[in-house]
């Protein structure tokens, strides 16, 4: 019974990953991160992704703050934040988030406030979706590890 659970969890994880790839939410760089995870660094992916979440939320707050100023929007500063966001998104394989940032950057370079507002909304939406899905993925993995530990208990 436990063995079945393990198989199903693995299938769930693969299915979710396949979906995210199919949707273009993740790209092969995410798989690169997985390759870097092993017994010596068993939580590598979630550690990096959690840092990414923290940094991204700071960047999103900054971007929203910069755009809320109706008098003068510091497009140059927006560009700096966006460059950081593009870089970190690319490093973890967050393809769709990265692409929206690129479009956002174009709007900021054109001093297009409306375009920037739209891009920000889309960016927040994409980021939320990514975060939820990655959390789901990590949850399944946690369950899988627990199930594996029960199935293959360490002999002392």
């Amino acid at each position: 019974m436990l063995g079945l659970g393990l198989e199903r969890l693995r299938a769930d994880m693969n299915r979710l990953l396949a979906l995210l790839f199919h949707q273009g939410v993740l790209d092969e760089q995410y798989l690169q991160l997985q390759q870097l995870q092993d017994e010596s660094s068993p939580n590598f992916v979630s550690e990096v992704v959690n840092i990414y979440f923290q940094e991204s939320e700071k960047l999103l707050r900054n971007l929203r703050f910069l755009l809320m100023d109706r008098e003068f929007s510091d497009y140059k500063k927006m560009g700096v934040h966006l460059n950081q966001f593009i870089g970190s998104s690319s490093s973890i394989g967050a393809k769709r988030v990265r692409n929206v940032c690129v479009a956002f950057r174009v709007a900021s370079e054109q001093n297009n406030r409306l375009g920037c507002l739209r891009a920000l909304e889309l960016l927040e939406h994409e980021y939320c979706y990514l975060k939820n899905k990655l959390h789901e993925l990590f949850q399944i993995e946690q369950q899988r590890l627990l199930a594996a530990a029960v199935r293959y208990p360490v002999q002392h």
Binding site: Q29, Q35, Q37, S41, S91
Partner: protein
């Protein structure tokens, strides 16, 4: 100033992400410079997996401090922290990777190879870096195969050989034909870093399914593909086709 490594100012350990007081002289020590914490974490892991010792810093200024090259010339470099390679991001606030490269190449540490990383595939940028003496140019996001290739290319001696303990002898790249007087070590096969040899999974977008999770422990130590020294230009050309 005494040569026993006494600093004129105390280093604070928290200034650097990782401080290694004692180094096995066999191990390659890389100084990684990037303002992005995400990227620092990734490059650190990439280097550690390829058996390098890593120190990460978040700016060019800190990198120069670590090397002992900043304004206060009275610094004495701690021999235990000998740096074998610097790998730096190009786009950084304050001092760019390019500026850091120039500072290193214009100093007493000009022998240290410097590798530039950049997310932008701009030929002019690559050219100017190589002209300033950069050893190599990696496109971000950096992959495990990039780092393995880099390490094999630059430090391909078999580290289990005990005679290499004396000095950190580096195999000179086979393409450096400009200085024929430099001695070259006899070529050694590229080192297989994995304990269980496994083929490197295909990285083309269409075959991600082959990399999906299996219950066996993930193959993190993949052997590098045999590569020729001019693979950098080929990779860059391939990259620009992908975009």
């Amino acid at each position: 100033m005494a040569r026993n490594g006494v600093f004129s100012r105390r280093w604070r350990a928290e200034e650097f992400d990782y401080l290694c007081p004692s180094l096995d002289s066999d191990e390659v020590h890389v100084l990684a410079v990037d303002d992005s914490l995400v990227d620092r974490k990734v490059i650190e892991r990439l280097l550690k997996i390829t058996s390098c010792k890593v120190t990460t810093v978040d700016s060019g200024r800190r990198a120069l401090q670590f090397l002992g090259l900043d304004e206060q010339e009275s610094f004495v470099r701690f021999d235990g922290l000998k740096v074998d390679m610097v790998i730096t991001d190009y786009c950084m606030p304050g001092m760019t990777g390019y500026e850091l490269l120039k500072k290193i190449k214009g100093s007493s540490f000009r022998e240290i190879p410097v590798v530039i990383m950049s997310s932008e595939n701009v030929l002019a940028r690559i050219d100017s870096c190589l002209e300033e003496g950069a050893e190599n140019f990696l496109l971000k996001p950096v992959k495990l195969s990039d780092v393995k290739r880099l390490k094999d290319y630059m430090f391909s001696e078999d580290r289990s050989r005990t005679e290499s303990k004396v000095m950190n002898k580096r195999k000179l790249p086979e393409t450096s034909s400009d200085d024929p007087s430099k001695p070259t070590l006899s070529p050694s096969p590229s080192i297989d870093m994995s304990s269980t040899p496994s083929s490197e999974p295909s990285s083309s977008p269409g075959t991600f399914s082959s990399l999906l999770y299996t219950d066996s422990s993930s193959n993190s130590n993949v052997s590098s593909m045999p590569s020729s020294p001019d693979s950098l230009t080929r990779r860059l050309k391939m990259r620009s086709q992908d975009l």
